[in-house]
């Protein structure tokens, strides 16, 4: 196991208290080169988590607050008219950073949303007919508030699929809450965080994650899960091929974080809720119950 990753997890856990699993999942998502959607009420530390990740991984960080009047240009950047030269010059938007925090993404208009999501998907930005590559690594953490109903534009399913994982942080447990209340200001702690990796090292780790072995036996299991999602009247649609790949890569990353060079069924099971719950919707006439409903069905699939 890579010591720098261990130390990264340790450092973040020092700031986000009692959320070890979510921190690891977020890190796994990043190592698997996926984007992360955090859905939760304000104030549970979404922003802090994103910022902390950026700090320890040595990534440059941009926060974009999504509002209803945010324009695509506000995200991507635009050509600017320079009075002195009388010409237009491209001014890169905040998206040209290695880690983007897209805060309250569902507040912006669908146009602004898709500007970000298309950039996420393609790893590049096309503005005024010119294609500009995004930095590498490029990682988006988007947050949205599930409670707000009025005046929001929920992300359509097709867009949700672009996030590898959706996580909920939830309230801290009482012990963590107490530490939080008693402890230092989070913002100060954030400032003290030291990067443990260079971007080149991070890229190397990402490469190693892709090399984590997924045996035929595990692929059988993965396919059984995907098949179960598609052939079940409870689900409107099954997992897309992209969803299946996300599941595999996330499991690889989780195995890597656990210090193994191969993935096993438990890795799939751990990342399953984060990867599938935002991709599956109940079929008409099916009452979903709670959030974990889809996961419960899929976790019943026997391991071959």
């Amino acid at each position: 196991m890579n010591t720098s990753i261990t130390s990264a997890i340790g450092q973040i856990n020092h700031i986000i208290l009692g959320k070890d699993r979510q921190v690891r999942l977020a890190l796994a998502c990043l190592l698997a080169q996926g984007h992360l959607l955090i859905e939760d009420i304000p104030g549970v530390g979404k922003t802090t988590l994103a910022h902390a990740l950026a700090r320890v991984l040595g990534l440059d960080y941009q926060r974009i607050q999504f509002t209803s009047d945010l324009l695509p240009a506000d995200i991507l950047g635009a050509a600017v008219f320079e009075r002195e030269s009388g010409a237009f010059r491209f001014l890169p938007g905040p998206i040209f950073a290695q880690l983007i925090l897209a805060d309250e993404i569902n507040r912006a208009s669908p146009k602004a949303q898709s500007a970000l999501l298309e950039a996420m998907e393609e790893g590049q930005v096309s503005i005024e007919g010119e294609t500009r590559p995004l930095p590498s690594p490029f990682f988006v953490i988007a947050t949205q508030n599930p409670i707000d109903q009025v005046g929001v534009f929920p992300l359509p399913e097709s867009q949700l699929d672009r996030f590898m994982m959706r996580l909920r942080l939830g309230y801290p447990n009482p012990a963590a809450e107490r530490d939080l209340l008693a402890g230092q200001d989070r913002r100060e702690l954030l400032a003290n965080l030291q990067p443990v990796l260079t971007p080149a090292e991070l890229a190397e780790q990402q490469r190693q994650v892709r090399n984590v072995r997924v045996s035929d036996a595990l692929l059988d299991y993965l396919q059984a899960i995907i098949g179960a999602s598609r052939q079940n009247a409870s689900f409107m649609e099954g997992l897309s091929p992209r969803g299946g790949l996300a599941l595999k890569h996330a499991a690889q990353a989780w195995a890597y974080l656990a210090g193994r060079d191969f993935a096993q069924p438990e890795d799939l099971q751990v990342v399953l809720p984060g990867v599938v719950s935002h991709r599956l919707r109940p079929a008409p006439g099916i009452t979903a119950g709670d959030e974990a409903w889809a996961v419960r069905i899929l976790l019943q699939v026997p391991i071959p």
Partner: protein, 642 residues
């Protein structure tokens, strides 16, 4: 767009296979029409205007029916019916398109296959038709699936259906009750092969000898009998008109016959030769064939000319005395010679008689004459004149057995010794595989019998005097080399193959074609006497069918083949099984590490083993662990005793 579809081939192909053997028996124009129809159906022209051909088909159907009626004078029965069926099948083929039509065509095809058996039940034909049935079945399978199956898959499935059906079919075949006496006689078989006729003229036997066809097979109940030493008696000829020998037309009461020594039991399977003769060696007291009867001359005749293969058992004595006293009328018949023929031979006979010799001595003299004068045994004798015997005896001296037997008998009668000609078979070939004797038309023979006071009729074979090898070793050895090419002899290296084939063929004839009421009774009696009753047959049939179908359902309806788990998975399953016996069950969706954690919580004392096994298993099944660790896993699991 006219397209050549595989479905059409599945339609036409099996039909072609089914009709090919029929062409031997069908009128030529029907075969040609069938071929034309099939070609038309395959051709793209058919598809273009398939629907507009309705009127044409009607016209064809009517004219075809008329043609069949003109050809056979009937539309029914084995000849007309089959012709009509073939025509209608081909017409149906022209309008067949969908799956339903295909099914109907297949059923008709099955029926067509069956009709072939009316004419031809040979083993090869049956095998051919079995292949055709397989292809029919495969075509059914191929067109029943929603997408056209690859022909290989369809053939495989069709073949496996036939193979799976075979045991049940054999059981039914053996145990299904047969009728006691077949109605029979409704089938006109092909013109039978020629056999012994009721007359003999120079050249008639030697014609027969060129045929390779099997006359009959003889299966001796006791081992060690030399079939070549036996003389199989056919027609006995009394009357001579100077050219041809004939049977006597007068019926005679039974004559006294006395068997001597030990009886010999054997079974003859006679091929159809359209002749009534039942070849029998020796004095038979019993020939178990319905309608078989014996004449005073020790001939056995069937009720009517043999048109189907017959099998009969014989009990016979090779040593016997028959007709020790000759009635005056019979004596006169046995001395009768046509007037004005063969003066030389008659003079020679009279001279021997005048020398006061005994009948035996006269016969000896005749044989000595054949032996000492330059006689030749040949298949190619010169043509003889009106005084055939004289020409032969004093001029050409080249002849075949009928020449010798005829001349000898004439000499005997001229010398006052009652004599007659006997035709039949002598010799044969032993099949060591089946342990029976094959006697062919080639082994046809003619010899003489003379009557001696107190001894009755005694066999004298004048051919033996000229060509002793013919008698001892068979026709091939007796003939000069130059004549052997006339015999149609097979190459020597083919001999084992031919014998094997004959053995198979004989088995086929005996056990499949000849499986009738009696065979069934005999076979079932060997198995268990209780089976021979109708009730026994039906019950055993039901029980056997139940067993076979049960087996088939086990074979086919067991849960389908799951892919075989790999070795680590199998070993791990054993580990799970052992833990399950202690009450710890892994959930179907529980990962190995999760389960290990839970297991250790419940059985802390096993922690070390469970951990080691789980990590080895995970490494082998999911990770990069080298195969060498498999042995380690195996060892750990073998020693794992929770």
């Amino acid at each position: 767009m006219a397209k050549f579809e595989p479905g059409t081939l599945w339609l036409v192909g099996p039909l072609l296979l089914a009709l090919l053997p029929q062409t031997l028996f069908l009128p030529v124009w029907i075969s040609a029409a069938a071929a034309l129809g099939m070609v038309w159906r395959i051709s793209p022209v058919w598809r273009k205007n398939a629907s507009s051909q309705r009127l044409l088909r009607l016209v064809l159907a009517l004219s075809g029916t008329l043609g069949v009626f003109i050809e056979h004078h009937t539309l029914f029965g084995p000849q007309g019916g089959v012709s009509l069926l073939v025509l209608m099948t081909v017409l149906k083929l022209l309008e067949s398109e969908g799956r339903r039509d295909h099914l109907v065509m297949t059923l008709v095809g099955y029926f067509l296959l069956m009709t072939t058996f009316i004419h031809d039940q040979r083993l090869l034909t049956a095998l051919w038709l079995a292949v055709a049935a397989t292809v029919f079945t495969a075509s059914l399978v191929a067109t029943q699936s929603s997408a056209p199956l690859p022909w290989r898959t369809a053939l495989k499935l069709g073949g496996s259906l036939i193979l799976q059906a075979l045991p049940l079919a054999l059981l039914l075949f053996v145990l299904f009750p047969r009728l006691h006496s077949p109605i029979g006689g409704l089938i006109q078989t092909r013109q039978a092969q020629t056999g012994l006729s009721d007359s003999m003229s120079p050249g008639s036997v030697s014609q027969l000898i060129r045929s390779d066809a099997i006359a009959f097979r003889a299966d001796f109940a006791s081992a060690g009998i030399d079939g070549r030493a036996l003389y199989w008696r056919g027609p006995v000829l009394w009357q001579y008109d100077g050219q041809t020998w004939h049977r006597t037309g007068t019926a005679v009461e039974k004559v006294a016959a006395e068997p001597l020594g030990q009886p010999l039991n054997y079974t003859i399977t006679l091929e159809a030769d359209n002749q009534p003769w039942l070849p029998v060696a020796g004095l038979a007291t019993h020939v178990n064939l319905p309608g078989a009867h014996e004449t005073a001359d020790l001939e056995w005749l069937a009720a009517r000319p043999v048109q189907e293969r017959q099998r009969y058992e014989v009990q016979a004595w090779l040593d016997y005395r028959i007709e020790p006293t000759l009635s005056p009328a019979r004596r006169a018949l046995a001395l009768d010679l046509p007037r004005g023929f063969n003066p030389g031979a008659i003079a020679l006979g009279r001279r021997w008689a005048g020398e006061g010799r005994s009948p035996q001595a006269i016969a000896e003299a005749a044989l000595a004459y054949f032996r000492e004068q330059p006689f030749h045994y040949t298949l190619n004798p010169p043509t003889l004149g009106a005084n055939a015997v004289d020409d032969f005896l004093f001029a050409s001296r080249r002849g075949f057995c009928e020449h010798y037997a005829g001349a000898f008998t004439v000499l005997m009668r001229a010398a006052g010794v009652p004599a007659r000609v006997v035709t039949g078979y002598q010799g044969g070939e032993y099949n060591p595989i089946g342990k029976y004797w094959i006697v062919r038309q080639r082994d046809a023979h003619a010899w003489a019998e003379i009557w001696l006071a107190n001894q009755g009729w005694v066999r004298v074979d004048p051919t033996a005097a000229v060509a002793p090898n013919r008698i001892e070793l068979g026709i091939e050895a007796g003939l000069p080399d130059t004549d052997k090419s006339l015999l149609n002899l097979p190459a020597a290296w083919l001999q084992p193959l031919r014998l094997t084939w004959d053995f198979v063929n004989n088995g086929w004839n005996q056990w499949v074609l000849g499986y009738d009421f009696e065979r069934q009774q005999r076979l079932l009696n060997v198995l268990s006497p209780s089976l021979t009753s109708l009730r026994g047959m039906l019950w055993s049939l039901l029980a056997g069918a139940a067993i076979l179908l049960g087996g088939l359902s086990l074979l086919l309806l067991h849960p389908g083949q799951q892919p075989k788990p790999d070795r680590p998975a199998r070993l791990y399953a054993r580990f799970l099984h052992r833990l399950a016996r202690t009450g710890l069950h892994k959930g179907p969706a529980e990962g190995p590490s999760d389960f290990a954690r839970r297991a250790i919580r419940h059985r802390p004392q096993l922690a070390r083993e469970i951990e080691a096994i789980t990590s080895l298993y995970a490494g082998l099944r999911y990770g990069h662990a080298p195969q060498a660790q498999l042995a380690e896993l195996q060892r750990l699991i073998r020693n794992f005793r929770p």
